[in-house]
């Protein structure tokens, strides 16, 4: 008798759990982003206000970029991601391959200053299948306690193992690294993509990377570079600028960003083709790319809003003490030697260059 009672209770418990698990599934959107401080800024500026406004739920998960997961879902006809934060080059190549739904930008809301969306978004922010939210910069940073005398100030210093000893952190991807190698090798910012389009240019970039290959620690997630600096595994590392800003300002870590050679990229929202919540996804995108939410996210991380009308609203960090303007990638003081990532180049050449890059790492 006791045994059966126990079994009934167990069944009841499982049933209740199942119901609460199922109940959480009503009217929800699955939003995928890059994790860490960046996802946090989006949660505060876009997701929470949208959830409060519409009463829907957002399930938030993280990934490390690239189109592989989206491709796998679309190919196996089992799309569970509704909105994905992708870089512009992936948005373009994914759109060409039918991986994303088309988005009609004219349906987006006007800017708070009355400007139409086509005028309000900066050039390059709107593509067929994706709407930009922010611009960030790929920079490199260092731990200032590790270098007693001279400090690194230019891209070439990243490759100088003698003057600045210690390991280097690099993202495990061809993008950004090849351009950085060329700039460190002396190519002018304006010529980088011209050189990279030739076979000799690519070989030159790999040759430069080979000089530090033994000292590289590869990272994949945006949240790893500050961890690597804090644990001492590396003395210098590339990173998304906002990820180094947050520990430096909120936890007083001695991380310094070098803006020389920064590479600017737009992050965008895109909807995988076949998503079961397309209309909800469009509503979320329209909301989160409004003037105020884009300006709000700059309260949490120094990324530039894609709308011109948001720029004047950008003020201080969430501690209400630090000014965000000096930390923005678009600040003129940081633009001394900067390039804007050539999205068409990468949309065309990413697959083959990355394949060569991955083989090169493996040896």
């Amino acid at each position: 008798m006791k045994k059966w009672n126990g079994k009934l209770m167990l069944l009841g418990a499982v049933g209740t759990l199942a119901m609460s698990v199922a109940a959480a599934e009503a009217a929800q959107l699955t939003v995928i982003s890059w994790g860490g401080a960046y996802t946090k800024s989006q949660t505060e500026a876009y997701q929470k206000p949208w959830m409060a406004k519409t009463g829907n739920t957002i399930v938030s998960a993280d990934y490390n970029g690239g189109l592989a997961e989206v491709k796998a879902q679309v190919e196996s006809k089992n799309v569970t991601w509704d909105v994905v934060d992708v870089e512009t080059s992936e948005a373009i190549s994914g759109c060409n391959d039918g991986l994303f739904e088309k988005i009609d930008a004219s349906k987006l809301p006007k800017g708070d200053n009355g400007a139409s969306p086509m005028d309000d978004f900066v050039p390059g922010a709107i593509t067929d299948c994706a709407i930009s939210t922010i611009a960030y910069a790929n920079v490199f940073g260092y731990d200032s306690t590790k270098f007693a005398g001279d400090k690194p100030t230019k891209v070439a210093d990243f490759f100088d193992l003698k003057k600045f000893p210690g390991k280097r952190g690099l993202k495990k991807e061809a993008k950004v690294n090849l351009e950085m190698a060329l700039m460190a090798d002396g190519v002018a910012a304006a010529d980088v993509y011209k050189v990279l389009a030739t076979k000799e240019g690519v070989d030159r970039a790999f040759k430069k990377l080979e000089t530090i290959k033994g000292s590289i620690v590869w990272w994949e997630a945006g949240a790893q570079p500050p961890q690597l600096l804090a644990s001492g595994e590396v003395t210098m590392t590339t990173a998304y600028n906002g990820r180094l800003f947050t520990p430096a300002v909120t936890e007083n870590k001695p991380f310094v960003i070098v803006w020389d050679g920064q590479q600017q990229v737009f992050d965008t929202w895109a909807i995988p083709k076949g998503s079961k919540n397309k209309d909800l996804a469009l509503d979320f995108i329209a909301f989160s790319t409004g003037t105020k939410p884009l300006a709000d996210q700059a309260r949490y991380i120094p990324y530039g809003p894609a709308r011109k009308s948001s720029a004047p609203l950008v003020g201080k960090f969430q501690d209400d003490k630090t000014d965000m303007a000096p930390h923005m990638p678009t600040n003129p003081a940081n633009m001394g030697n900067a390039i804007v990532q050539d999205v068409k180049f990468w949309a065309d050449h990413y697959d083959e260059l990355n394949e060569r890059f991955v083989s090169w790492i493996g040896k």
Binding site: L17, A18, V21, G35, G36, S60
Partner: protein
């Protein structure tokens, strides 16, 4: 052999005494190797900074270098209003929205369901396998235990391709079936081991007394092999609770289990919250193991009292 008995017999040579201490030193070193990583996690989970390193403040044992914020994050991460005052509504918000709470619910649901399936199928199979007349016993036992031996990446990859084609990918059913598969070898091993010491004549006696096979199983065999079933079920549950690779391939973001959430915490979020979760899990395991041991000791004492 007592661990720390120090009264040496008079004929013990110097070498023997030296080895006595050396052996114990080696054993202590190996135990430290086994346990140190587990112990290191616990203080790190109280780190005020969001890194996996001990800060100088922590090493100097300054109280302001420690914080409970990661424990709070377990409840708060994903909540709609984490800064609201602590109330029933706060807990409700956390229970429904917090990523770790959702992961906990998923882990328990998948774990219990998978264990139920694994225990039922595994026990049934073990009863059949332990019968002396079972044909091809070696081969079939080998097949049934193979999920435990085959590398998990292969199992996960195969299931991903196959389940995608039959529409079971990214579903709870697919996940439960996958975990049940990984748990059955443990049930089969423990229950067959218990059945080797089972007296077959008891079943014949039950049949003699008029019981049909089903009654004989439930009333005679099962109570006696229950320890094996429970132990196998426990292994199956732990396997499901700790499993991450299959979940990585087969689950959608809504179905994340605790290990999947930890994996995400290690790769994409790199947040010490997983250390707080880990500490809680370690304490639970410790409590479980200790209580098992204490129960065992009590039963032994009862047995001895009964006999004396």
């Amino acid at each position: 052999m007592k661990f720390l008995k120090l009264d040496f017999p008079p004929y013990a040579t110097g070498l023997e005494i030296a080895w006595f201490f050396a052996f114990r030193a080696i054993c202590i070193a190996i135990f430290v190797f086994l346990v140190a990583p587990i112990l290191v996690i616990i203080p790190l989970s109280f780190n005020k900074e969001s890194f996996f390193s001990f800060t100088s403040g922590m090493l100097a044992l300054k109280p302001e270098a420690y914080s409970l914020k990661w424990y709070r994050d377990i409840f708060a991460n994903g909540m709609l209003a984490p800064d609201a005052p602590l109330s029933l509504d706060w807990f409700k918000d956390s229970w429904m929205r917090s990523q770790w709470m959702i992961a906990l619910k998923n882990s328990i649901f998948v774990g219990v369901s998978a264990t139920a399936v694994a225990t039922t199928l595994g026990t049934l199979a073990s009863v059949g396998l332990s019968r002396p007349e079972m044909p091809y016993r070696g081969l079939i036992t080998g097949i049934l235990i193979s999920p435990m031996i085959v590398p998990i990446v292969i199992t996960a990859a195969g299931m991903f391709f196959f389940f995608s084609q039959i529409g079971l990918s990214q579903t709870y059913i697919g996940l439960v079936l996958a975990h049940a598969l990984l748990g059955t070898p443990f049930v089969v091993i423990t229950v067959t081991a218990t059945l080797t010491s089972f007296d077959r004549s008891l079943m014949r006696a039950a049949a003699n007394l008029g019981a049909n096979p089903l009654t004989a199983f439930f009333k005679v065999q099962m109570p006696l092999i229950l320890p094996g079933i429970i132990s196998g079920g426990l292994f199956a549950f732990i396997t499901s609770f700790d499993e991450v690779v299959v979940v990585l391939f087969l689950a959608e973001p809504d179905q994340r289990t605790i290990p999947r959430q930890m994996w995400s915490g290690l790769r994409e979020q790199v947040s010490p919250t997983i250390l707080a979760v880990a500490t809680i899990l370690i304490l639970i395991s410790l409590v479980l193991l200790m209580s098992l041991e204490l129960t065992r000791r009590r039963m032994e004492r009862l047995k001895m009292d009964a006999h004396s």
